[in-house]
Amino acid sequence: MSDQDNITAQTADAVAPPPPRKRGVRDALRALAKAPLSAKFGLVVIVFYVFVAVFAPVLTPFGESEIVAAEYELWGTEVEHTDAEGRTQTVTLMFGTDNLGRDMLTRLLYGARNTIGIAFVTTCIAFLLGGVGGILAATVGGWTDQILSRIVDILMAIPALIFALLLLTIFGTSVLSLVLVIAVLDSTRVFRLARAVSLNVVVMDFVEAARLRGEGLSWITLREILPNIMPPLVAEFGLRFCFVFLTIASLSFLGLGLQPPTADWGSMVRDNATLITYGDITPLLPAGAIALLTVGVNFVVDWFLHKTSGLRDEQ
């Protein structure tokens, strides 16, 4: 074997090695600039909602369930309002009042806080349960996988909303039971996804190499598998959040979700629904608020999926 041969081999290897990828904030911003209009719109919506949810108390002079005027006041009604320090000022009620005479705008702002907050917490719990279960089932395999998968099959055989209704009847409609019931039901979907994407990674040779090296479960799941399944999981988080958000809104709309006097978009639609028959669009405000957020999240997820995997066609 001569040196000459070695050079041949090396140059062959060096044939068009892809250049190092660029990363970092600058690159993320560049990707963002190239994003389609729908994704930018979605991002703006999400940022706006988070802002509102965080700063709700600062944005309105009224309390969450403070009665400020007569019920069903029209948009733009003006009222006198005395704040905690005793100063009185005239406030315009932009969207009028609701069925109990509370300020609609205030309720909408606080609603962002409650509805988004609870949906977010629920989604997180669902991911913790389903994600851990799914990755474990895929990695450990055997009986663990069989048992977990069969439990999930059974839970998924019942439509989630129906199951939720049944469970809420039994456990009552407190926020805690609402969150837990929805989280458990939703974790089944997360489980399925996490297990499926992990299985794709588990069969890869680098996982086998890690096993044969003698690595433990935590290294294999956290260092070998998890980094490779992040993109689909992140996308799924967005989708699951939308689903949970809509489920809770639906339950609240049915009167079985968040209970009064908590401001919540779903129940606000229901409470003011009669207005629609008079052609007043007030009940569409909270409904539209729900729709806008889910649309925004879905747009961002759609772009993200397209970006990370080019798998837009397969979802």
């Binding site: 439509p159 009847t169 809104a249 729709a291 397969e314």
Partner: protein, 318 residues
């Protein structure tokens, strides 16, 4: 053929098993109540004697497996027990409502299935074109809308502003078919809008998947016309995914019906269930949940079986 019969039989057996376990869960759920059914019924006025009598009457004194057997036996004979709220036979309460719900879901399906398949196939054929991108944004939005949002928008326009349809769907047992359809159209339209988006996205995805197969490329390299490629080469392999899409969405309709029924005060099973949940009328909720779950499970099972029997690899075993 032996193989396929075995697979179908297996799938049916599995479906039955799932039904059985789900019925167990629904029945056992009641036992998780703090207190029991009789306390729930009688509330503050309960005394030890009345509770005892009540428990004896509805069989709460028996062991759980026995009670389950009684309950299941009852259901199989069409006897769901008695409502806590008004003491009426549940089977009576459910009777006409079940028909109404299936009518509504059926109406929605008749509109949405052909529409969604056509739109989905078009989007797949002209993918990445303007039509496809537009459709993507529209369907993505409509998937994101809560059912009641769509429902109220439709009410606002089609009922309140233009007065084309009634906003309440108060159909009764003796409403003639045409009037029933007319009154149910608005809720059916709502359901259609919700389900079409889902169904056409799934159709689009599975058709695109199919069109990427090497045998489709081969067909065009054999000089086949586009229509022949679609009809002769893609379609025979598309049945399984399409059937799956349709049936899954029918199952979705069954669930979606709950909210829509409440908005339009449509006298269906969903409305009854929500009403009973609010009243914590557990036997009625149990009955409704069983029916919804059974429909859902049977539909899913049908989807599986249909995709088995349309798979050419299974139809013609080695």
């Amino acid at each position: 053929m032996h193989n396929i019969v075995k697979l179908v039989a297996q799938r049916m057996a599995l479906g039955l098993l799932v039904l059985f376990i789900v019925s167990l869960i629904i029945a056992a759920g009641v036992d998780a109540l703090p207190g029991d059914l009789c306390q729930e019924m009688q509330g503050q006025s309960a005394t030890a004697e009345t509770l005892e009598a009540c428990r004896k009457e509805i069989g709460l004194d028996k062991a759980l497996p026995l009670r389950y057997a009684d309950w299941l036996g009852g259901i199989l004979k069409g006897d769901f027990g008695v409502s806590l709220a008004n003491g009426r036979q549940i089977s009576e309460l459910i009777g006409s409502r079940l028909g109404n719900t299936f009518f509504l879901a059926g109406l929605a399906a008749i509109i949405s299935v052909p529409l969604a398949l056509a739109l989905g196939i078009l989007a797949a054929l002209y993918r990445n074109g303007i039509y496809d991108r537009g459709v993507n944004v529209v369907t993505l939005s409509s998937i994101s809308f809560p059912e009641f949002f769509i429902a109220y928008i439709l009410i606002l326009w089609l009922s309140v502003n233009w007065g084309w349809f009634p906003s309440l769907s108060n159909v009764g047992g003796d409403t003639p078919l045409a009037e029933r359809a007319y009154k149910s159209l608005l809720p059916a339209l709502t359901l259609t809008l919700v389900v079409v988006a889902h169904m056409m996205r799934m159709t689009r995805a599975s058709i695109i998947n199919l069109l990427a197969s090497p045998y489709i490329e081969m067909a065009s390299l054999k000089g086949m016309t586009k229509s022949r490629i679609i009809l002769k080469h893609a379609l025979p392999n598309a049945w399984a995914p399409i059937v799956n899409v349709v049936v899954l969405n029918l199952a979705y309709l069954i669930v979606g019906v709950v909210v829509v029924e409440v908005v339009f005060v449509y006298p269906g099973l969903g409305e009854l269930m929500v009403d009973s949940v609010r009243k914590r009328d557990i036997p009625v909720v149990q009955a409704c949940a069983s029916i919804f779950a059974a429909t859902y499970i049977i539909l899913n099972m049908t989807a599986d079986i249909l995709s088995i029997v349309t798979n050419p690899r299974l139809l013609h075993p080695k």
